[in-house]
């Protein structure tokens, strides 16, 4: 759709599945309405705005589409139908997503009818390269499969901490993987990209934290695969997740995208901490998201060596001082102008200068930041329970961990590249999440991120007692996603096609 106003209106309703309910008769509508057509004028101003974003629906009817309209051609074939919410009070048209249908014979329409489904935030359809990226949440997946339905329950905070820290987190990866040379890597479905991953990760972080989305005062999204050169992912995240106070169709939140290769998100952890600690900011919580549909040139082309390692996914962290699960004790960042990896504006894939990779880039910076931080806190490797480093490949994090004196059991649990691939800006956040999934209270975690170009942020985190309590608010933790029985494996051609997207 080449009209931005129409696009804006469709995605405003469709991304969040905004709806309204008549407070007199209870009738519900899939749209924002000022009055109820049942009750007429007397309902004017008495409509309640609701949405279906966190709800579970039921697939009422479905059919199979194998000759889609032009804009859906890249999906080739899919199941389409009608989903009802609230016991049939609202019905919406629906596309089942995350289905790679190789043989239509495998699709049993009648057995799909009646199944519970969850709305998923996805690209709507294909448009020209210069147009606004259309999105929608009228894409659904089965609630008892890869992506379980999770309720979003806002909980009042119990305890305030002296230091700010992680209040909740969410990790999002797709259902698809490519398995090559001992490595499993997450592959986006054709309707996914870094925007959809950022929104999904943020949604899961809100669910895990129990924080009221309107209390989030700032959101940072770090990515190097934003489909736009100019237009933030963070604005989509803020609008869809209703971050900050909602006033009409504007959210009272500061939203910004950051970029520093793979450390775009981790760099902002300290800013988030500082912001929630500053007494006059008025900001109780800040969200930092790292999400990437990690780019790599095809194998055999310049830059193609990355193609063996890139993944897809993201993680969102909410920082605050209430109900903290891991306090941020301190950090150390370092930077130098080292061109080890870059992507020029307008280029589809990054270049990877072999000369600087390794010692002059990754190792030098990660070593510097982590050593400085350990020195500052007078810590030795065995004082620390877990070490998490950036993972451009399986070897680098292991080498730096050993060099710093960490044993297998300290760093191996945080190595995720062999399960999801290198998710670029999402890599360290996702790996840190995998540690928070398993850590015990009062343990120290050392994090060393890395961003080409080049720099590293080291963080020291100390887990709290509340870490364990909050785990029940998260069904889809990292292990769940890595070992999910509904994972589907794709071949190299499909992987390249999916990464290219709609």
């Amino acid at each position: 759709m080449s009209s931005e106003p129409i696009e804006r209106r469709v995605s405003y309703l469709g991304d969040r599945l905004r709806a309204s309910r008549c407070q007199s008769c209870g009738k519900e509508y899939f749209e924002v309405r000022d009055y109820c057509s049942n009750c007429g004028r007397k309902s004017y101003g008495k409509m309640e705005n609701i949405d279906l974003f966190y709800d579970k629906g039921k697939l009422e009817l479905c059919t199979f589409i194998n000759e889609p309209t032009n804009k859906f051609m890249k999906l080739s074939s899919f199941v389409y139908g009608i989903v009802s919410f609230h016991n049939g009070k609202i019905r919406v048209p629906a596309r089942l997503t995350d289905q790679l249908i190789s043989d239509a014979k495998d699709i049993d329409l009648t057995s799909l009818e009646g199944r519970e489904v969850v709305p998923r935030f996805r690209r709507r359809y294909s448009v020209g390269k210069s147009e606004v990226v259309p999105t929608i949440s009228l894409a659904f997946t089965l609630a008892d499969e890869y992506y379980p339905h999770q309720e979003y329950k806002v909980t009042a905070p119990n305890k305030e901490y002296q230091l700010p820290g992680v209040v909740g987190y969410g990790v999002y990866t797709s259902k698809f993987r490519i398995k090559e040379a001992g490595l499993e890597r997450a592959v986006p479905f054709v309707d996914e990209d870094s925007i959809t991953a950022a929104v999904e990760a943020g949604k899961l972080a809100l669910i895990h934290s129990g924080v009221d989305s309107k209390l989030i005062g700032k959101v940072y999204v770090g990515s190097e695969s934003n489909p736009y050169s100019v237009k933030p992912i963070a604005s989509k995240v803020a609008q869809v997740l209703k971050l900050g106070e909602e006033d009409g169709d504007v959210q009272g939140v500061d939203a910004v995208d950051t970029e520093f290769a793979c450390k775009a998100a981790t760099s902002m952890f300290k800013d988030a901490c500082a912001l929630v600690s500053y007494p006059r900011s008025g900001i109780k919580y800040a969200m930092a998201i790292g999400a990437d549909n990690s780019q790599a040139a095809p194998r055999g082309c310049p830059g193609g060596e990355l193609d063996t390692f890139v993944g897809y996914g993201g993680a969102a962290f909410i920082f605050g001082k209430n109900d903290v699960i891991a306090q941020v004790e301190g950090w150390y960042s370092c930077t130098s102008d080292t061109p080890d990896f870059w992507r020029r504006d307008g280029e589809a894939f990054p270049m990877h200068g072999g000369r600087f990779t390794g010692d002059p880039a990754y190792f030098k910076h990660v070593r510097k930041s982590t050593c400085k931080l350990m020195e500052r806190f007078n810590l030795k490797a065995n004082d620390i329970a877990y070490f998490v480093a950036h993972q451009p490949n399986p070897q680098f994090p292991a080498r730096i961990a050993k060099e710093l004196g960490f044993k297998d059991e300290q760093y191996l649990p945080g190595i995720m590249i062999n399960k999801f691939g290198n998710t670029y800006s999402g890599c360290v956040p996702l790996s840190l999440a995998s540690i928070l999934d398993i850590a015990k209270p009062e343990e120290l975690i050392l994090v060393g991120s890395y961003g080409s170009g080049a720099g590293s942020d080291a963080y020291l985190l100390r887990t709290t007692n509340q870490l364990v309590d909050k785990r029940k608010q998260q069904k889809a933790n990292v292990k769940f996603q890595a070992e999910n029985p509904f994972i589907e494996y794709v071949d190299y051609q499909t992987y390249r096609r999916f990464k290219l997207g709609m």
């Binding site: 000759e67 309209t69 804009k71 629906a94 359809y125």
Partner: protein, 401 residues
């Protein structure tokens, strides 16, 4: 009814692909045929009502009245609607109000000029949210079928019969079209072909269940009854025209197994015409899909809801080209219906009227329906805009004495 309107002549083009012709050429052909039939001079026309659904999109023609004025060299009032039934309804109102005595009603569509994008256009106009969710022009028909099956708990052997009945709708319509020289598809098909197309597509409905994309035009001359007698010896009266509406978004409707607008339109039309549904002998139904012919038979009131498939299945078993309802024969889509005659949206309703007009006047040639007392006396046309969003019913017949 005051100033009851009557049709004194009809005309149409062949439906199909007319890639060599401008849209103007098609309407010219249709309206010349109609005016020849009743010896009408252009100067006698007091107004024109034309319908097209897509010309602004398919041919980037925005002001259709302009080319019609140029074509006819007339400066009379002209209005454009989206469907032929809507144009006819508006024209009837004008005649009833005594504003005009003689008007031209025409319809035109040129869908194949945009064959590669027409399905997107169609779906976006018909039901935008369904389009945004990935729906195709075919998918909602299949959901209608699924809703019907679920509502009436049709399973096992009955489900097989329903599927055969739907196939037979297409077979019957194709057979009828073999006798219609204007039809887009003038070749017979078999039940096996219909079923096979569904099977290979792994879909509830297949290629042979849907009306095609077509070009074509149709036209008629409408006058007041008093004027009609001067124009032709056997005018066909418009006994009623009615329409009803429903939501754009199919999924938001109360009942997904039927079109409530069709039911309302028919009830109102019968009331206006002051006749019984059982008087209807030839019916033109908007079979955009075979499922819609089945659903319409019920929505319009001809068959008890949930049972139309049984009646159709009986016709299949006895190889009849009519449906027998309560011991009465009703002939549906004798011209081949939208499925085989073609479906150039704005002109489709005109072809349906054309057929009923011919049947009532006993001019339908080899496809003429005959009863013991001769040609059928009354018939009706049901047409839709969108997927059940607007329903029109037009009842035609002899003036009730």
């Amino acid at each position: 009814m005051l100033n009851r309107p009557a049709i004194v002549a009809v005309g149409r083009t062949k439906f199909g692909e007319h890639y060599g012709k401008e849209p103007e050429k098609l309407i010219e052909e249709a309206w010349l045929a109609a005016s020849n039939e009743c010896n009408l001079e252009r100067k006698d026309l007091e107004a024109c009502y034309m319908s097209d659904c897509f010309l602004p999109i398919t041919n980037k023609l925005g002001l259709e009245e302009g080319f019609l004025s140029e074509l006819t060299e007339l400066h009379v009032p002209m209005e454009v609607t989206r469907s032929f039934s809507a144009a006819l309804l508006t024209a009837c109102h004008a005649i009833q109000a005594g504003v005009y005595n003689t008007v031209l009603v025409g319809g035109i569509e040129k869908m194949t000029d945009r064959w590669d994008k027409i399905r997107d256009d169609l779906m976006l106009l018909e039901d935008p949210w369904s389009y945004f969710a990935g729906g195709t022009p075919e998918s909602n028909h299949e959901l209608l079928l699924r809703a019907y099956i679920k509502k009436y708990h049709i399973t096992g052997e009955n489900l097989e019969k329903l599927n055969v009945a739907l196939a037979y709708v297409s077979v019957k319509n194709h057979a009828n079209a073999t006798k219609n020289k204007n039809a887009q598809y003038q070749r017979p098909i078999t039940v096996e072909q219909v079923l096979h197309a569904r099977k290979t597509a792994h879909k509830p409905l297949g290629m042979f269940d849907f009306a095609p994309i077509s070009d074509g035009a149709s036209a008629l001359i409408l006058t007041s009854e008093a004027t009609a007698k001067k124009r032709c010896d056997k005018p066909v009266s418009v006994l009623a025209c009615s329409s009803a509406t429903d939501y754009l978004n199919y999924s938001a409707r109360e009942d997904l197994s039927r079109f409530v607008a069709a039911e309302i339109a028919m009830k109102n039309a019968l009331q206006t015409a002051k006749i019984a549904l059982s008087d209807m002998q030839v019916i033109e139904i908007s079979d955009q899909s075979t499922m819609m012919e089945l659903a319409s038979l019920e929505d319009l009131g001809f068959i008890e809801p949930g049972t139309a498939w049984k009646g159709i299945y009986e016709s299949y078993q006895n190889n009849r080209n009519f449906y027998e309802i309560n011991g009465k024969q009703i002939f549906v889509n004798t011209d081949g219906g939208l499925k085989a005659d073609g479906n150039p949206f704005g002109a489709t309703g005109g072809a349906q009227i054309f057929e009923v007009y011919r049947q009532l006047r006993g001019e339908a040639g080899t496809r003429q329906v005959k009863f013991v007392d001769g040609s059928p006396k009354k018939g009706c046309v049901s047409e839709f805009e969108g997927f059940g969003t607007k329903a029109y019913v037009t009842i035609l017949g002899e003036k009730k004495s």
